[in-house]
Amino acid sequence: MALNLITAVKTAIDKIIKINTNKLDVSTFNKVFCTENNCAYTFTAGDSNYTINSHSLILVGNYVRLELKATRSSSASVGGSSSDNVPIGYLKITDDRVIDIRASTTCAWNTGPVQNYLLNTDEDNIIEVRLCGSPSTTHVNVRAVIPVAIDISKY
């Protein structure tokens, strides 16, 4: 009888442990949603018209945030033209916490002219940053928030 009781208690406890093991840790919750995580990445320059001045990438929750500053060697044409529609650069996220990336659009900040950007992704999850519309300008200031899928187990 005592042995049966021990087995029953053990089974019940094991069940509870299993349930709790599959729950999210408080520290993981903090790291994912409440912490600014440095995100490993590389940024490669695109078209020769652009000089990349600075870039940074952080990971918070299900989003990465890109800040990019670049300069064009010559002004883009008003309204854009096919020769202006070239990649500014390529962002490759190498952080193993990020497992998938979604395309996004954004616009310029603090530059003067209206500029819109496309952040397109390919099969290798490389984000191509491209000016998609602009009047005459040489400065490119991008602030973009891009949705990503994350691997919780890597935090």
């Binding site: 005592a2 406890i13 409440c34 952080i58 616009c107 003067g112």
Partner: protein, 157 residues
Amino acid sequence: MSVNLIDVIKTAINKTVNLSKNKVNKSAIDKLYTQYNLTTKVDLGSNYSSATTTATLIGNYLRIYVNATRSSATNDGNITNEQVCTLVIITDKILDIYNAAGISATIGDLANFYTTDCIKSGSIITIPVYISATAGAITEVNFYINLLVRLNPDAYL
């Protein structure tokens, strides 16, 4: 025998309690995916006569909607870096906020907006909102800006 049984139960229960201590409750996840409408206060920029705004928080995203009226229409492309308003939001759910840019929502108008120098002091967040540029004559300013935020764990766990 009964002493052994009590020891087994005690050990197992302690193990379970310790495991549970560091786990997130379902309510934290529910809170994370709940939409919170935050109270906002607007201080108008000098060229604006009125404004209404809303601010909603879902997960790590704070979405701000602004509808403001300019005292006179802009000319085509002649507005750069003009302050529309400063928003004040009071919440204990946000630890930090990241500036962002957005585009106009009014049909027919083309303008870009951005926030800069957001300040978080205690539970008060101050968000200056600017037009970065226009490409058309605009009187009604109407847009959404999505800001990435870091959440305050004390408000969720």
